[in-house]
């Protein structure tokens, strides 16, 4: 690349900076920026790095709580205290745009980045989760994106030896051309070994370690801050190649280095590479930094300062090391065949100074660059589609004559059916802590040396948020919490990734705000503060913005590993009960049933009463702790019928049927149409099963918590039979349920 002589209007525009923003830059510097400085400002002030459109809205999230050790925003990831001197560090990040262009590397480098965010805080990464969304599989491009993203996650995560323990995958037209690839990493640290991402101590050294710097990924942060267009395909060089082996060495070396106590601060070079990592550390530490880029190891010849500062080559990190102790750090890296070099030092003048062989090539006040990035209150407008989709009544859709067929089709659908084909490509057992394998409501990771386990899940439903962003936001949090509760764990905190369209469109901005309001409300009531997260805007395809897609990563804590619960029915004769309500006909809105069977995307999203949700969750935890139940399973996509079918087949070693009977005597008020009864997606519902002897005790718990419940039937038999008014609505053998649920997906891919 050649350095342009003059900063022209066109150059400013091509860097994604507005006229006003450029004016601010000139005010800050008191002069025109040079090309390198323009590049530095453009990436730091990009949406991806500065959160300029979301910052104010995100303030709505509750971020404090008794178990929060480090609050959201203070460091690269929030930190949660789980007792025994241990802390959990977790974070989700999106890699939607890179994955749309080059799915395998896009997804792989997403894993690489999020894992570095965790171990640079001094935590050992113990689990990966991912939330993926694509257009329908019958389209070749979608199919390609999907299978390559899975391959990318598998290659990278497996090589690192971090188990991928849970995830979710949806297929919907809205993600055509703009897939959602959100990856989450969870780490465990000793509290006293936590490392901060900050520079401090005048004269301390800045160490660069990891891969050499190349031209790959140049300006990736600004790439992620605009819509994908046909030209994006031609922007392919912006996609980086991941090296999981190098990352594994970095991971082990860094964790070994912690024991030497010579490290002050550590940070990944993620988006905006050297620029953001160093300036953010300086900003957090209230100091200045000076580096000389001639010392940076380079992979390509003739790189100009602009390219070195903006490169997003993978598997690189910076460390602040105590002055005079550099050799100790370098030796640890050397043991792991890694080359660490001293590229600069911490200064006291609050300036981010970049030299090239001693000559100043950029000089910017740190605070102005990092903290005074522009902040926008985007114009908001309620989208017009919302008034058009509201009017829905069940009478508008035909009533099916054969419910067996409908249930089979739902179990067979890519969104509902088992994702075995996917998770078997991930090593989900390495580290020998995975107590619940993928497929359960939530994963469960034991913590060696304690009696504890952490429950982890990642969840979201763009369909609900499309119909009602506020309710959809609430549901995303509530359902994630419910998943964790179903295994017996207490929800502690969330991390999140918010995937939306172009925020300068007022409708998108409105959806974003409503969704965050809903999530914040749920977090407050369920007492699960937000520990951090990521916002991904500009998710658009030629038809417009994707459905608002909030994704929630939930952490739960189980105090005693011997008291966990699984979703599948276990014993013949056990009573099956639904905690919560049977739902209403309107709650078919946004359901998989009307989407798949009737090809509609209308109605109200399910409504959620968070107080009721909390009571249901409390009841479930209490009865699991008391050892009263044999199974608990969340009732979600596909409604009651799908959840019951899953209860019959979720364990390969314990397949058993159930007889469900909505008898008119017990459910005399039930006037709902059968399809609504079977497939509505009302919230706050958990299906449990238990020995008849425990009935009275369980009833006491539900009464104490003021939770309604319905006796549905009993476990047993070779099939799932659902009767209503002595008529069989559903009668399918367990083997057949299994065939539709487990084998359809592998057949369609």
């Amino acid at each position: 690349m050649k350095e342009p002589k003059r900063i022209t209007l066109e150059l400013i525009k091509s860097h994604g900076l507005t006229r006003e923003e450029y004016k601010r830059i000139k005010e800050i510097l008191g002069r025109e920026p040079n090309f390198t400085e323009l590049g530095i400002f453009s990436v730091m002030w990009s949406e991806h790095c500065s959160y300029k459109s979301s910052k104010l809205v995100l303030k709505l999230f509750p971020i404090t709580g008794e178990s929060i050790l480090i609050k959201a925003g203070e460091e690269n990831a929030g930190v949660i205290d789980i007792g025994d001197g241990l802390a959990v560090v977790m974070k989700v990040e999106s890699h939607n745009h890179p994955s749309a262009i080059e799915p395998e590397q896009g997804a792989a480098t997403g894993i690489g980045g999020i894992v570095r965010d965790i171990f640079t805080m001094g935590a050992r990464p113990v689990a990966l989760l991912d939330s993926l969304r694509f257009g329908p599989l019958n389209n070749g491009r979608n199919h390609y994106l999907f299978s390559k993203v899975v391959e990318g996650i598998a290659r990278y995560g497996n090589c690192l030896g971090i188990p991928t323990v849970a995830g979710e995958i949806y297929f919907d037209n809205t993600y055509e051309g703009n897939p959602v690839v959100n990856v989450m990493c969870v780490g465990i640290a000793y509290k006293e070994e936590l490392i901060k991402g900050r520079a401090s101590g005048i004269g301390n050294s800045i160490l660069y370690v990891g891969s050499d710097t190349g031209r790959d990924g140049l300006g990736g942060a600004s790439f992620a801050s605009r819509e994908l267009t046909e030209e994006s395909e031609r922007d392919r060089p912006a996609v980086q190649i991941g090296d999981p082996f190098k990352e594994k060495l970095l991971l082990e070396a860094c964790l070994e280095l912690l024991k030497t106590k010579v490290v002050i601060g550590m940070q990944d070079m993620g988006a905006a590479g050297l620029t953001s990592s160093i300036s953010e550390m300086a900003s957090r530490g209230d100091c200045g930094v000076q580096i000389d880029i001639s010392l940076v190891p380079k992979r390509e010849k003739g790189m100009i300062p602009y390219e070195v500062m903006l490169s997003e080559s993978q598997e690189r990190m910076v460390l602040i090391v105590k002055k005079g102790k550099e050799e100790i750090a370098k030796n640890v890296f050397k043991k792991w065949d890694l080359h660490a070099v001293n590229i600069g030092k911490v200064t006291n003048d609050g300036v981010f100074r970049v030299l090239d062989k001693g000559k100043i090539v950029a000089q910017i006040p740190v605070k102005a660059l990092v903290d005074d990035a522009p902040v926008y209150i985007r114009e908001k407008k309620k989208p017009r589609y919302l008034s058009q989709i509201k009017n829905f009544s069940v009478s508008q859709i035909f009533e099916p004559s054969n419910y067996n067929d409908i249930l089979k089709r739902l179990l067979n659908s890519p969104t509902i059916s088992s994702k075995q084909w996917v998770y078997r490509q991930y090593d989900h057992m390495v580290r020998t802590d995975t107590i619940l394998l993928p497929g359960a409501d939530s994963s469960l990771i034991r913590i060696k040396g304690t009696k504890k386990a952490i429950a982890l899940t990642i969840d979201g439903n763009g369909g609900y948020a499309y119909l009602n962003p506020y309710e959809g936001g609430k549901i995303a949090v509530a359902e994630a919490a419910r998943n964790v509760v179903c295994v017996g764990a207490k929800p502690l905190a969330i991390t999140n990734c918010l995937n939306f369209g172009n925020p300068t469109k007022p409708e998108v901005s409105w959806q974003f705000k409503k969704c965050v309001e809903g999530m914040a409300e749920a977090c407050r009531i369920l007492r699960t503060p937000v520990t951090g997260g990521n916002v991904s805007f500009y998710n658009e395809n030629p038809k417009g913005a994707i459905d608002p897609t909030p994704v929630v990563g939930m952490l739960g804590l189980l105090d005693d590993i011997n008291h966990y619960c699984t979703p599948n029915f276990k014993k013949k004769g056990d009573i099956v009960i639904l905690l919560g309500k049977l739902g209403r006909e309107q709650e078919l809105g946004g359901s998989e049933y009307i989407k798949l069977i009737h090809n509609l995307k209308i109605g109200e999203s399910p409504r959620i009463d968070l107080k009721e949700e909390k009571a249901v969750q409390r009841t479930c935890i209490e009865i699991i702790e008391a050892g009263l139940i044999n199974s608990a399973h969340d009732c979600s996509e596909g409604g009651l019928a799908v959840a019951l079918a899953e209860c019959c087949i979720l364990s390969p070693e314990c397949k058993i049927g159930a007889l469900i009977n909505f008898s008119p005597l017990i459910h005399h008020l039930l006037t709902m149409r059968a399809d609504a009864l079977l497939f509505n997606e009302a919230q706050s519902r958990i299906i449990i099963s238990f020995p008849p002897d425990n009935f009275a005790k369980i009833k006491d718990f539900t009464e104490k918590n003021n939770v309604s419940f319905f006796q549905l039937g009993t476990v047993g038999g070779k099939g799932l039979v659902i009767e209503r008014d002595e008529k069989k609505l559903i009668d399918i053998s367990v083997d057949e349920l299994e065939d539709y649920y487990y084998r359809s997906f592998s057949r369609s891919v």
Binding site: N158, C159, G161, K248, Q425
Partner: protein, 234 residues
């Protein structure tokens, strides 16, 4: 009695093996860095699973030239016990300490799941607590577990009773359907002619506690311990 777990750059089941030996079986165990050249004092070496050198070029191909491998070869010649699990098996094959090679799974995908294996030879240091025909539930997790050797080698393996485990179904039937990766003759584990070196694709360390869904794999470690103890007693 002391075990050693060899750590190559990119090993990732090293700690899992260490945990089983130290915390489940309560035996002494050290991590051995791949640059170590002295292996005296160990009664059994474990080459763990993982992605040594990123599996670049071929699985195990680069690790096989690690400094420690000269010592491992000498240790093997002296009849020392060596168990290579998954990537460790691949390293042993590349080093020529076991015959044959690994190629990509037939599905071309990484496969992680519980499968079943059948004991074919119960007279090795690794299987003496099992009986022939016994079925173990144990997980696999690999991309290249498709064992290959030419016809002559396979014949020799059969003749010398070197096939230690075969993939099977839960009833013990060995068939194409119960072969997860396409391995020749459903081979899941082999030993050398002398019987002191075992290469096994499934992960016994992941099936050594009830909490993890199976403790069938523990018998392999317990067999090793029994073998060493009986040798010590003599």
């Amino acid at each position: 009695m002391k075990f050693g777990v060899i750590v190559f750059p990119g090993s990732n089941c090293d700690y899992d093996c260490y945990w089983v030996v130290k915390r489940i079986l309560r035996k002494k165990v050290d991590f051995i860095w791949h640059k170590e050249r002295n292996l005296s004092g160990y009664d059994c070496l474990i080459l763990p699973g993982g992605f040594s050198y990123g599996d670049y070029l071929r699985t195990g191909a680069i690790a096989r030239f690690s400094p420690v491998m000269n010592a491992v070869e000498a240790y093997a010649r002296n009849g020392g016990l060596i168990i290579g699990i998954c990537n460790g098996f691949q390293v042993l094959l590349e080093a020529g300490l076991l015959p044959g090679a690994m190629v990509s799974n037939k599905s071309l995908q990484f496969i992680c799941k519980f499968i079943y294996i059948r004991v074919e030879n119960d007279a090795t240091p690794y299987t003496n607590l099992f009986h022939k025909g016994q079925i173990l539930k144990i997980p696999i997790a690999h991309n290249e577990g498709n064992y290959y050797a030419d016809v002559k080698t396979i014949q020799a393996l059969n003749k010398n009773n070197q096939i230690v485990f075969r993939y099977c179904d839960e009833k013990g039937t060995v068939s194409k359907a119960s072969n997860p990766n396409g391995a020749k003759e459903s081979i899941a584990a082999i030993c050398n002619k002398e019987g002191n070196i075992l290469g096994i694709m499934p992960h016994p360390e992941r099936a050594s506690e009830r909490l993890l869904g199976s403790k069938d794999g523990r018998g392999i470690f317990e067999s090793i311990i029994k073998w060493i103890e009986s040798k010590e007693a003599n």
